[in-house]
Assembly symmetry: D2
Homo-oligomer: 267 residues x 4
């Protein structure tokens, strides 16, 4: 049998971090060797994650934790401010980072890639680990070549602060790289109620629905003479990202250098 991949988890007290801990504990090919949170105290990481005790106590500091164990991979969904720093720390210890935080700059990525190359290890930074969301975006971009008339409707919980969602903007960007330029709709269109036609992006519209009970959903609707094509992705909870994180942890063991974007490690 192959040796287990040894995983450290940063941000282990966060909502994503706890899901990652659970995911690692459930996969026989993975082994949890460290879990870091500056604020949780020295509790068992399994208990903190809402499952059974696993024998790994939460460490307050990543540097110390990585120095104390032999980890293969660090999974980090902590806040953007510490994401870059954590990634450097991991690479320095020869630990492959799988990073879900956004906000790392182009220059920082070049630097991280260089560090990875020097150590001969892989790293992954991805804003989205949902295989379904990535397929939705890819299909939408492909379809826009043939169906340039489209609108995006995205649904999130009613307490979300920003609209439209990051995923919908990312989708709109990918579509715009492929879709023939076109300003949709009637040029003399008039809004009786301001904003009813949604947010304008490069000739098409994005609509943001906010309702309690919804986690994250998006539909891209394409309209043409006599037909409609719809591509829809519904996420029900954070657990839905875990198959992607699991895949990334295994994949990052197999290459050298920094890869940005989960779509590039899908087989």
């Amino acid at each position: 049998m192959a040796e287990k991949i040894k995983v450290a988890v940063a941000g282990a007290r966060g909502r994503m971090g706890r899901e990652v801990v659970k995911m690692v504990l459930q996969d026989e090919q993975l082994e949890l060797v460290a879990a870091v949170s500056p604020s949780a105290g020295p509790v068992d990481a399994g208990i903190l994650a809402g499952t059974s005790a696993c024998g790994v106590l939460i460490s307050p500091d990543l540097e110390t934790a990585l120095a104390a164990v032999e980890a293969d991979v660090l999974v980090d969904f902590s806040i953007p401010q510490v994401g870059y720093e954590n990634t450097v720390t991991a690479i320095t210890h020869g630990v492959r980072p799988v990073i879900g935080t956004t906000g790392i700059t182009q220059d920082q990525m070049k630097e991280l890639d260089k560090l990875c190359q020097e150590r001969g290890i892989g790293a992954l930074i991805a804003p989205n680990f949902s295989i379904g969301a990535i397929l939705m975006m890819q299909f939408a971009a492909q379809a826009s070549k043939y169906f340039p008339h489209l609108e995006i409707i995205e649904y999130h919980g009613d307490q979300k602060l920003d609209a439209p969602s990051g995923t919908s903007i990312k989708t709109a960007e990918l579509i715009s790289e492929i879709r023939p330029e076109l300003r949709q709709g009637n040029p003399n269109e008039e809004e009786i109620i301001d904003g009813s036609r949604g947010g304008y992006y490069n000739g098409f519209r994005i609509h943001s629905v906010r309702l309690p009970g919804v986690f994250a959903q998006q539909e891209v609707v394409f309209g043409a003479f006599g037909q409609t094509l719809k591509i829809r992705h519904d996420s029900y909870d954070r657990a839905g990202y875990m198959p992607g994180v699991n895949h990334a942890v295994k994949k990052v063991m197999t290459y050298t250098g920094l890869i940005y974007g989960f779509e590039h490690i899908m087989d």
Copy 2:
């Protein structure tokens, strides 16, 4: 066997008028006795409607047409400007009007009701003859009592001038009569792209999608803890209104006075 209901059609050259002519010709309980259009010329009404010749030539003038035949019911989907006038003409000739034009004022309706009462005949004015659309609106209003968090998404063809649609505004009004007052969403919400959150109506949002190939669709989405309720109506073409018009033609024979709104003649 019961006698047939004798039907006259105004605006017989319009898109709705031609559907009405076809519908009347296809129903054995109905008989087409007159079809009026000022601009069509004296062609056969069946041919103009895209079906077989029926022996009724288009008349240029409603008054003359109603004087020449014994009609029971006048169906009129012509432009708002002539709707009121046509209705008066019909009632004067003892012909029951079934009117699909909007823009008739409250005062005019009172006057029309008085005329109907005097003649002892019925009349119907309805902005919407789609049974499905009416059920959608009624169900949405009922649901809003239990699920006050909702948004409306409506879809129409990309050349439509106004947004949001009349049906969505009517739905919003009916909901507002029942729904507990509530301003949905995060009070600190921020639109990165203007209008992405849709049009604001009484605490909730209306989103107008405009795409080629779509005729008329609307979905009301209700969100609550752990669940979503959706009520959706899709109209594919004008023909979808004909079962409602057919029902109205038969129903208007059975009562006296003016009724406003198709929902009041549904059994």
Copy 3:
């Protein structure tokens, strides 16, 4: 301020029971006074439910627990076999039962109603506490009066044993009470693949989709000339039933006798 309603929870170790305990602990108008599970051991009920300690230890036996505290309401989602017995025990102690188990017979219900009347207290037995699911069923039944052509599509997790779901059969029954009798479809229809047309029920069809990641969803689709009406309810998790259970706990305090069916206590 009104006195709190004192709630006991049977089946406190089950998936529904833990949600009920959490719901009671979160509502300031409710007070958890007992939680029963024969197999959990004397742990804190809050801890067992995955939230903070609440000071109520799990009791192994309902009779003993209800004798030891003053409870107003017993919530019981335990297995059908003990449902009737638990209900009798509750009423005997003057505790109003809110019961989510199915399988109680008509004769047993008459007996329970009699017991409630003697004690002057209320009781509720309901197979479904989801307000959204109940509205979906009611709207579907109403719509079938006007749109007798319909099909039901229901979605559940891929490990569910029975098809179609209990909710879809209940929906079909309610529709059949109202819908004009009609055998839908082409009488000469032929299945190239057996079962592709779904399960036959009283002239229409029920389709059961089973997929991982889905909790409980159902759509009733009505088709008519030129239009489609859809009523859809999506449940994302057990927590979605809690607003209904919460409403029931408060409502059962206000009447005398047994009520069967949550729809009868919706305002």
Copy 4:
């Protein structure tokens, strides 16, 4: 300006044939030179198609018609029995066939390809000219690589004879070429109503909904841990196929030999 493409239409009285005639008359790059129907009589093809007179009278015989005019392309949606024969006739006259009939055998296709190569002209045979339907099938096949748990739900008019639809079977075949082998669902699953779980195909299920008012719709639903991906295509009428036929007429001018399947001429 480029010369117009001269188009002949077989089966000009059929529902698809009339749409093709209309489409050709509306495109300034195309010219209708012949329209064939053995049963229509010598009426104007434009009138028969429900639009204005175009000066081309219906011919009763394809051979005679193609001998009388210089056609570049023959569009044929007539019944399968005559499809092969018509195609041979067209190629013999140096006219490029665009064929929508199904039921042409592999051997016949080889023969037709040979004839095309000899004449140095192109030909297209395609069971489906809907760009949207083809994208739906392609996306579904791609997604099944990552989401092997899926079901297909297809909707057609209630008078359709066969279930499941040809498109759904084609989709299932394309998916099966890519999807990892898997028998979905609970092995101990039980149907309370026969057929409720749909038609079995290679480990997954196909559900056929039949309702009045529906033309042709299909949804492929993929389920995974915490997420659902849906790809849906709705066709509202035959006109929806015309952009594809239009594209094919122009494309068939640019290559030599027989191509089977519209997907191979999409850019």
